[in-house]
Amino acid sequence: MRLLNLTMLYLSGALLLILSVWAIVFYIDMMDEVYDSLDDGLENHKMLIIHKAQEDQMIYQKSDFAESNYRLTPVEPSVAMSGLETYSDTSMYMVNEEDFEIVRMLTTYFQDNDGQYYKLQVISSMVEEDDLISSLLYSLISLFVVVLVSIFIINKLILSRVWRPFYQLKNELSRFKLGKNNSFNAPNTSVVEFKELNIAIDKLLKDNTEVYDKQKSFIENASHELQTPLAISRSKVEMLLPHFEENEKVLNQLSDVLDQLDRMKRLNKTLLLLTKIENRQFRDYEPIDFNSLWKDQIEAFKDLLLHKGIEVHLDEIGQLQGQFNPDLAAMLVSNLLRNAMVHNIKDGRIQVTIYDNRFAIANTGKTGALDSKHIFDRFYKDVENQQSTGLGLAIVKSIVDLEKGRVAYHFQEDMHIFEVIFSRLD
């Protein structure tokens, strides 16, 4: 939910509550005032009638409301003595409305000059409560809507203005990628909170970039520094070999040591290579024709493929050409081809298909579908192949990533398919 909508949601909720409470209080207060003033009017009327009754005997004849708004009823003294002056709401038939309406009525008792007791009832027409409530409700709703719309407009203006540094920051951050050679420019702002946010993010990114760079150069240095001790160990063991040519046991042990040293060397070299790819140390671009590159690589692997009895089909549906680093292009193709060969079965099949913007390599294999989430991770490998470094596909991925392409894996009709798609190749 957007900031604007969220603010509006909360504001309208709060407004609804406040306005409802306010409406109830206002209504009660207003009705109180209305009764007060009506009752005062009735009281005044009562006094006038009683005064007039002392001069005008005709008034005693008024036993019905009819056209006037009072009536007099003679009562027993006992009733009058025990009766209290009361205000009450009652309904009366209104000629104009042709309906019963609520009226306010004052009931009181008094004694005339002759000692006769009378009950005096004075009425006054009332505000129509239901009409009042509905008109109050309508005005409240329109107030609510007007207030909300104005808040929305104001909020929108304020948000786009006040929060501009925030949105700039957001864009700047989404552009930023760790390890890519780009800098973070905090947007200009005079708002203290945003300034602090900028500073905090700037520091966070700097720290992270530093850690990332350190880690990267650590891998590079470590791999590099390991090459020499590896070279020494290997040459020392190799020097030992001729001395134990008659001793099978020792020779085999030494050979195992050599194999492990070799494996270490390969790991090392591949890690170095990965670091170099990620450091963008392959910078020279040339026009590369992937169709002929694939043909060359298949030719280079021909002997091994033949030895394993693997049949390779190359389908050239399109021409894939573009600017690419020649070393990376060769590595990309050879790693994919080697992967398809190593994990293949005897007398298996490899199908290479080249399109205008992508190529796919499919191979038969020993296993079912692989974990497409982790297959491109470093050191991901199947249990069977102990000698593989588990870095071949990681190299493929980092090359493709570097060129803003995409590599996908899927398993279809018993074939493992790796597809490399380039969004743009100039």
Binding site: I232, S233, E238, M239, P242, E245, L254, H307, Q387
Partner: protein, 224 residues
Amino acid sequence: MKILIVEDELELQKSVQQFLQEEQYVVEVASDFFSASEKIDLYEYDCILLDISLPGGSGLDLLAEIQQKETHNVIIISAKDSIDDKIDGLNLGADDYLTKPFHLAELNARIKAVLRRKQLAGSQEVVLNNVKVDFDARTVYVAAEDLHLNRKEFDVFSFFVLNKNKLVTKTSLAEHVWGDDSDNADNLDFIYSQIKNIRKKLKDSQAQVEIQAVYGVGYKMIVK
């Protein structure tokens, strides 16, 4: 044959020196830029093994110095596996480039190849009893009869020729034939079948050399 090893890692220097001495070379060593520069200046060497990163300066600068000399065969040995370095080195006149860590058998083969190319002007042949190896034509003859080795078989056989009477491990052989791409069992299996073919061909043509298996470790070519 006189070889100079310019290498600052003393242990590596020692092993290479010992190995080359066993191969009957006269070996001298230098551990830093200045002593290397001095030796290059004063003496003539048939081949110089040159490390690029040296205390006191870059091996690439030494290369320029070596170019002044009459005979200059240089094999760069570097821990740097970058293609740029390789191209720089070869452009500056190095004859070959070997990345650390390397197999001693591979170093041996490279040295021999370089020396052969430069010194035996024109003659690119090695004769072992009734076997003649023509490196230019990539052909092997047994008693003047072509052995008909295919591309990879020749790679394998020539590696044995350059390391004759020495134990050659399977991995060094695989790496020689396949370069750095030798990281799987298929390659070793492939090498095994290649050697089987070569042995059969040698035997059929009654060659006076024999490739023997040395337990599970590797092979050795015996010149009878």
